[in-house]
C-alpha cells in the first residue's frame, strides 16, 4: 500500500482534505482517474472520490457490514483493484467483505464472505466476467479460488489448489499481477496462473530459479498484455523481468531485461503513448545527490537512455517511493525520501529541476523542547557597569560600557538600514542571535519519528536548521513513540553556547543506543558529547541534577542489569546530589508493575556506575497500564494555600514526587473500566485512585500544582467528560518549610466531573515563570480548534449553592457542563487538525505563556491567562502621555515665571 499521509496536496497546496484521525482515515489505495481520484480508506471500509480541480469530495460510500461489533478482530489487510477490463469498476476485498463500486459513486453490490478462523482471504483478481477471490484454508493447506459474478456478486464457481505457504508468508512473500500470483520461495520464484474462465480449470504453476534467496518482488508495471516485475535477491542484486501474454491464450511468456542495476535503485515504468512501448525510470540516491536514468524498453534491451542528476539541498537518506509520470510532454518524478520529504522533480532537456520540496516529517513530531535565546553581550555586561571601587575606575567603567552600548545601538541601526530588504531567512538568523526584551522569542527543537530534527524560531515559524539522522529509530514508551530530548546546558552561561542532547536507538540493531549533542541555535554537533554506541542496553535515561563539567549536565542511563551509568563518564557523586536521596522508578511491562529503587551514592566513590536497591513495588493485576503522566518540569507553585472566604487558609498538598498512572481493565461483571492513580514515586503509595466504569480511552491527563484534570470518553452517555481533582493538606500545614513523601499526610481530595462540549485530542496547562498567573487549560479538539479554558471552570471546589463566602473567595457556581466561549478559541479560523501534543513554555513576562501545538499541523501563539497585567496594552496612547508630559513641563516653567513676577510685585508693594 502506498504510505501517503492522510491528506493530499495539489502541487502548490491549492486545497487539502484531512481524513479521519482514526483507522477510517488511513489510506489503503488511491485509484487515479482523469478528473477524480478514488480513495479507499479504513481497511477497505470507506471509499470516496476527490475532484482534482478543487478538492471537492464528489461522493463517499461506506461499507455496510455487520462486523463492526468485533472491531478488534479486523485484521489490517485489504485488497483494492481496478477491474482490468472495465476500468470504471473498483473491487475491494477486506477479510470478510467483498464489494464493488463504480467510479461515479454507485455501490454495485456487496457480499459478506464466509468467516472462519481457518480461512483467510488473500488475493483478489478481476476478469471481464468475474471477480476472483483466493483464500487460504489453513486446515487443509489449500488455496480456495472462488469466482463471483462481476455483475451481481453471485458466487459462480469454486476450486482449490494445494498451497505451501502460511497466511503470513503469503502476504509478505507474494504479489499479484494480472491473473498471476508470484511467490518467493527461498531462491525460487513460483508463478501460479489463475484461470480466468470457468471452462479453463487448469491451474498452471511454473518456477524460475535464482542463485540467491529472493528478498522482494515488486510489480512495476501491469497492463492486460504486459507486466514488468523487479526481483531483488539478498545479495543486493536486482533483476527485471518482462512478462508478455501470448495471444488468445491464458499463457504468459517472460524474459529478463538487460539492465545494469544499482543496488539501492528504484524503478518506475510508464507506457509511452507515442511509441506504444514502455519507458523505465531508474532513480537512486547517493549522499545528497539523486541520479535518474530514463530509457525506453525495446524487447530485451533498453534504448535511448538519458541520464539526469540533481543536487539536493540537504541529506534526505534513501528513496522510499518513486513514481514517474509523463504529462503532456513534461516529465515529472515524484519521490518520498527516507526523511519523509516529498520531492517533485521535473526532467527536461537541460537537466533535472527540483520544483517542490516539502518537509512532511514535521507532521510526525514526537518530542519538543524550547530553548531560550542567549543574552547579547550588551545585556550580559550590564552588571559590569556598576562595579569598581575607586572613583576613577568606576567612572572609566561606566563611560566605557555606555560607549559600547551606544556603538552596538548604532551598529544595529546601520544593520537595519542596510538589510532593510533582506529576506526572512536572514531576519530569522539575526533574531536568533539575541534574546528579546521579554524572552518571548524561543527556539523550538522538534524531533520527528522519522529521525529528522528541526530548529524552529518561534517569532516567525522559520526553520533555522534541520538535520536528518540516517540511523534513527525512536524508543517505545507505553504504546507511543518517544525520543528523550534534554537541555544539557542552558543559555544562562554566557560564552558557552547552550547544548541539547537526544538519545535514540539504532535503526538496524535495536539494542544499540546513540547520543547526539548539538547546539540548538545552529544545529552544530558537539562531537565530544556524542557517541554512536553506548556499551549497554538501556532501560531508562534521565538527566543529572548537578552541573558537572563546563556547566553541562550529564545523562544517566539505567541498563538492563539495573546499574546506573553516566555519559560522559563522571563519578555519580558529582552528577547527583549526595544530600537529597535519589529515587528512580521503572516499569515492568510483563508484570504490569512499577518498581521503585533507591540509589545509593557514596561520596568518596569514584565509580561511574552503581546498583539500584528495590524499595517499593506497585502491581496492577488484571489491569493494563496504558500511560503515565508527570508534572511539567517548569511547573511552579506560587502559594502554598488558598485563602477561603472566612480568611482561613486551605493548604495545598503539593507533592513533587507524584505521577499519574492510567490503567484499563475489565471488571468481574465484564464491564470495561479506566482507572486513574496518583502514585508517589518515593514510597510507592497511592494518593488518589478513581475508577470509571463504561469509559473508554484515550485518556488525556494534566498534572500540575496540587491538582489533576483528566478527560475520557463515556460510553454510556456517549460524551466526553473531564474530571478535576485537587489534593489538600487541610487547614493546617504539616511542614511549612519543606516537603517529604514520608510525611504522614493523608491528603483530602475534592473532585468534580464536567461534561465537555467536544472530543479531546490533547490537553495541556499553561506555564508561567513564577506561577503567580492563574492557570488555563489548553485543549485541542477534533474540529481543529485550540480552546483556552480557565482552570477556574474545572475547579473541584465549585459549589452547588453559592454562599456569600464562596462569592468572597471568587468561586463560580457548579454547572455540569463546561461552556466554551468562541472567544476562547486561540487559533481563530486557522484550524489545526489531528493534534497529538501541546507544549507550553514560560516567558520573561509573568502574564505570558507560549503555546505550541503539534500533530498533522503546527500552531504557535502566546496566551495571557490573567490578561496582560504587566505590560501596556497595544492601544496605549503614548502620544497623549508624551504631549501631556511636555505640556506639564512647559506649564510649570511658565507658572514658575509668573510666580516669580508675582513675588517681585508683591515685594514692591
Amino acid at each position: 500500500m502506498t504510505a501517503i499521509p492522510s491528506y493530499l496536496y495539489y502541487i502548490e497546496a491549492r486545497w487539502r482534505k484531512v481524513f479521519e484521525a482514526n483507522d477510517y482515515g488511513k489510506i489503503d489505495r488511491i485509484i487515479w482517474y482523469d478528473q477524480e481520484g478514488v480513495i479507499v480508506t479504513g481497511n477497505g471500509r470507506r471509499v470516496r472520490a476527490l475532484r482534482y480541480a478543487d478538492g471537492l469530495e464528489v461522493w463517499q460510500l461506506a461499507a455496510t457490514s455487520g462486523t463492526n461489533s468485533n472491531e478488534e478482530t479486523i485484521s489490517k489487510s485489504c485488497q483494492v483493484i481496478k477491474n482490468r477490463f472495465d476500468p470504471g469498476t473498483i473491487h475491494i476485498l477486506n477479510d470478510d467483505l467483498l464489494w464493488s463500486v463504480s467510479s461515479y459513486g454507485e455501490m454495485l453490490w456487496s457480499i459478506e464472505l464466509p468467516t472462519k478462523p481457518t480461512l483467510k482471504s488473500l488475493f483478489l483478481f478481476s476478469t471481464s466476467q468475474y471477480v476472483i477471490v483466493t483464500s487460504l484454508d489453513s486446515n487443509s493447506n489449500k488455496l480456495q479460488v472462488t469466482y463471483y459474478s462481476k455483475q451481481n456478486g453471485a458466487q459462480a464457481f469454486s476450486s482449490s489448489i494445494p498451497w505451501s505457504f502460511n497466511a503470513k508468508d503469503s502476504q509478505s512473500k507474494c504479489s499479484t499481477m494480472n491473473n498471476i500470483i508470484l511467490c518467493a520461495n527461498n531462491a525460487e520464484l513460483s508463478m501460479i496462473t489463475i484461470p480466468t474462465t470457468i471452462d479453463d480449470t487448469n491451474i498452471n504453476t511454473r518456477q524460475i530459479q535464482f542463485s540467491n534467496p529472493i528478498e522482494q518482488i515488486r510489480v512495476l508495471y501491469e497492463s492486460n498484455t504486459r507486466s514488468i516485475v523487479s526481483i531483488k535477491t539478498d545479495n543486493a542484486e536486482t533483476k527485471v523481468y518482462q512478462f508478455n501474454k501470448k495471444d488468445s491464450t491464458n499463457e504468459w511468456s517472460y524474459h529478463e531485461l538487460n539492465i545494469q542495476i544499482k543496488s539501492n535503485a528504484f524503478y518506475s515504468v510508464v507506457s509511452d503513448k507515442n511509441s506504444g512501448g514502455q519507458q523505465i525510470l531508474e532513480g537512486s540516491a547517493s549522499q545528497q545527490k539523486l541520479n535518474f536514468y530514463l530509457s525506453t524498453i525495446s524487447e530485451q534491451t533498453l534504448t535511448n537512455t538519458r541520464s539526469y542528476s540533481i543536487e539536493l539541498p540537504e541529506n534526505m537518506g534513501d528513496i522510499e517511493y518513486l513514481s514517474y509520470s509523463n504529462v503532456k510532454h513534461t516529465q515529472f518524478v515524484t519521490l518520498r525520501m527516507q526523511d519523509a520529504s516529498l520531492l517533485v522533480i521535473k526532467l527536461a532537456d537541460n537537466g533535472a529541476e527540483l520544483i517542490l520540496h516539502r518537509d512532511e516529517a514535521l507532521s510526525s513530531i514526537i518530542s519538543v523542547e524550547a530553548f531560550d535565546l542567549s543574552l547579547s553581550s550588551g545585556q550580559m555586561r550590564i552588571e559590569d557597569e556598576f562595579g569598581g571601587t575607586e572613583m576613577f575606575s568606576m567612572f572609566v567603567r561606566r563611560i566605557s560600557s555606555q560607549i559600547s552600548q551606544l556603538t552596538s545601538f548604532v551598529m544595529r541601526l546601520m544593520n537595519m538600514f542596510t538589510n532593510a530588504h533582506a529576506n526572512r531567512e536572514y531576519m530569522d538568523k539575526q533574531a536568533a542571535l539575541v534574546r528579546d526584551e521579554f524572552n518571548l522569542n524561543k527556539i523550538l527543537i522538534v524531533v520527528t519519528s522519522v529521525g529528522k530534527v528541526f530548529g524552529i524560531l518561534t517569532q516567525s515559524g522559520g526553520i533555522l536548521w534541520k538535520h536528518y539522522f540516517t540511523d534513527f529509530a525512536p524508543f517505545e514508551h507505553f504504546n507511543t513513540l518517544q525520543v528523550p530530548l534534554f537541555h544539557i546546558r542552558s543559555a544562562a552561561h554566557y560564552t558557552h553556547p547552550p547544548l541539547a542532547s537526544i538519545v535514540y536507538r539504532d535503526r538496524n540493531s535495536l539494542y544499540e543506543t546513540h547520543v547526539r549533542t548539538f547546539n540548538p541555535y545552529t544545529g552544530d554537533f558537539e562531537e565530544s558529547l556524542s557517541t554512536s554506541s553506548l556499551p549497554h542496553r538501556i532501560k531508562r535515561v534521565f538527566l543529572s541534577t548537578q552541573i558537572v563539567n563546563d556547566f553541562c549536565k550529564v545523562l544517566l542511563f539505567v541498563d538492563a542489569n539495573n546499574k546506573i551509568h553516566t555519559y560522559p563518564t563522571v563519578p555519580l557523586s558529582r552528577a547527583l546530589s549526595t544530600t537529597t536521596p535519589t529515587y528512580i522508578y521503572l516499569f515492568d511491562k510483563a508484570e504490569q508493575a512499577f518498581i521503585g529503587y533507591y540509589l545509593t551514592i557514596n561520596e568518596n566513590e569514584q565509580e561511574s556506575s552503581t546498583g539500584l536497591k528495590e524499595v517499593w513495588r506497585v502491581a496492577f493485576q488484571n489491569e493494563q497500564v496504558i500511560n503515565i503522566y508527570t508534572r511539567l518540569s517548569s511547573d511552579r507553585v506560587h502559594s502554598a494555600g488558598i485563602v477561603l472566604g472566612d480568611r482561613s487558609v486551605l493548604y495545598k498538598y503539593t507533592n513533587p514526587n507524584l505521577i499519574a498512572v492510567v490503567t484499563e481493565g475489565i471488571d468481574y461483571q465484564k464491564v470495561p473500566f479506566v482507572s486513574i492513580y496518583l502514585l508517589d514515586t518515593v514510597t510507592g503509595s497511592l494518593k488518589l485512585s478513581h475508577t470509571h466504569k463504561r469509559v473508554k480511552s484515550p485518556v488525556h491527563v494534566v498534572l500540575a500544582e496540587n491538582w489533576i484534570v483528566y478527560t475520557y470518553y463515556n460510553q454510556r452517555y456517549r460524551r466526553y467528560e473531564a474530571v478535576s481533582s485537587s489534593l489538600f493538606e487541610g487547614e493546617a500545614q504539616y511542614n511549612y518549610s519543606s516537603f517529604s513523601s514520608f510525611d504522614p499526610i493523608e491528603p483530602v481530595i475534592q473532585s468534580k466531573a464536567y461534561i465537555l462540549p467536544y472530543g479531546v485530542n490533547a490537553i495541556q496547562v499553561t506555564t508561567t515563570e513564577k506561577g503567580i498567573t492563574s492557570r488555563d487549560i489548553i485543549m485541542a479538539v477534533p474540529n481543529g480548534m485550540l480552546i483556552e479554558i480557565p482552570w477556574m471552570l474545572f475547579d473541584p471546589r465549585r459549589p452547588f449553592d453559592l454562599t456569600s463566602m464562596d462569592r468572597e473567595e471568587g468561586l463560580i457556581m457548579y454547572t455540569p457542563d463546561i461552556m466554551v466561549n468562541f472567544e476562547s478559541v486561540i487559533n481563530y479560523y486557522k484550524q489545526v487538525y489531528n493534534i497529538r501534543g501541546i507544549h507550553t513554555v514560560s516567558t520573561g513576562l509573568e502574564s505570558t505563556s507560549v503555546v505550541f501545538a503539534y500533530g498533522l499541523d503546527m500552531f504557535f501563539t502566546r496566551v495571557f491567562p490573567s490578561r496582560l497585567f504587566d505590560q501596556l496594552k497595544d492601544d496605549f496612547d503614548f502620544m497623549f502621555i508624551g504631549w501631556s508630559t511636555v505640556a506639564f513641563v512647559v506649564g510649570s516653567f511658565i507658572a514658575k515665571r509668573y510666580a516669580a513676577i508675582h513675588q517681585t510685585k508683591k515685594a514692591w508693594k
Binding site: 513495588r617 481493565g665 473500566f673 503509595s685 497511592l686 514520608f742 473532585s751
Partner: protein
C-alpha cells in the same frame, strides 16, 4: 390452585436471589484475600504475620505477629550505619489463582522510634487485587540520639494495624442535582407568584392611591380655580 402458583413464584424468586447472592460471593468484590507480611530487619525478607481476610472498606484490624524483635536485633538496627537505612515491608497476596506482591519502604529510624508500631494501608483495585501498600508511623523526622533514649526492653512486639483502601468510583457530572436545583428555583419562582393572592385593592394600592389623589386634587382645583382662570382669559381678550 392460585395459592400454590404464588408460592411457586415466591420460591422461584427466592431461588434466584440465593443464586445471585452465591454468584456474587463467588467472584464478587467481597471475596477473601490471604496476605503474608514480610520485612527486612534481618537483612533479608522474613514473614512476621499472615492473615486471611475479607476485603471490605471498613476493615481495620490489628495484625497478630508470629515473631518478636529481640533487644539484640533492635540494638543492631539502631547501630545500622549501612547505605540502605530503610525498613521495607513486603506484602504477598493471594486471591483466587492470582498471587503477587507489593512493597513499600520508610526510613528504618522511624520504625525504631515507634518501636515497630505503625499502620499499613493496602490499596485495592477494582478487581480486588492489592495494588500498593503504605506504612505510616505518624512521624516523618527522627534522630539517632533520640533512639538511644528509648526505654530498653527485652523484646519488642510488632503493633501493626492494617486497613484497606478500595478504589473509589470516579465522580460523575452531577446533572441530576443540578436539574433538581433548577427545578426548585423555578418552583420557588412560581410559588412566589401564586402566593400573592391578596385582593386587588390591597395588591395595587400603591398605584391606585396616587391616581385617586391626583383625580381628587384635579377636581378640587378645577372647581376652585375655574373662576379666576376664566377671568384671566377674559382679561386677555
Amino acid at each position: 390452585m392460585m395459592f400454590e402458583q404464588k408460592n411457586l413464584i415466591v420460591g422461584f424468586i427466592v431461588l434466584i436471589v440465593q443464586f445471585y447472592a452465591i454468584s456474587t460471593l463467588d467472584d464478587g468484590n467481597d471475596g477473601f484475600v490471604s496476605l503474608n507480611f514480610e520485612d527486612n530487619i534481618d537483612g533479608k525478607f522474613s514473614s512476621f504475620s499472615k492473615i486471611n481476610i475479607q476485603l471490605s472498606r471498613q476493615t481495620e484490624t490489628e495484625l497478630t505477629p508470629s515473631r518478636t524483635i529481640s533487644s539484640g536485633q533492635f540494638d543492631r538496627l539502631v547501630d545500622f550505619r549501612s547505605d540502605y537505612p530503610y525498613y521495607t515491608l513486603k506484602v504477598h497476596f493471594k486471591r483466587g489463582a492470582i498471587q503477587d506482591y507489593v512493597m513499600t519502604s520508610i526510613p528504618m529510624c522511624l520504625v525504631l522510634q515507634t518501636q515497630f508500631q505503625y499502620t499499613v494501608t493496602l490499596y485495592v483495585n477494582e478487581n480486588g487485587y492489592v495494588v500498593s501498600a503504605q506504612t505510616n508511623t505518624g512521624n516523618s523526622t527522627c534522630s539517632l540520639p533520640h533512639l538511644s533514649e528509648i526505654e530498653k526492653k527485652s523484646e519488642y512486639n510488632y503493633k501493626v494495624s492494617m486497613r484497606f483502601q478500595l478504589n473509589e468510583i470516579g465522580p460523575q457530572p452531577d446533572t441530576q442535582r443540578f436539574l433538581e436545583k433548577l427545578k426548585r428555583q423555578q418552583e420557588a419562582k412560581l410559588n412566589a407568584q401564586e402566593a400573592d393572592n391578596r385582593p386587588f385593592i390591597l395588591k395595587y394600592w400603591k398605584y391606585i392611591v396616587p391616581v385617586v389623589i391626583i383625580m381628587v386634587l384635579q377636581s378640587a382645583f378645577t372647581q376652585d380655580a375655574g373662576g379666576p382662570g376664566a377671568g384671566g382669559g377674559n382679561g386677555g381678550g
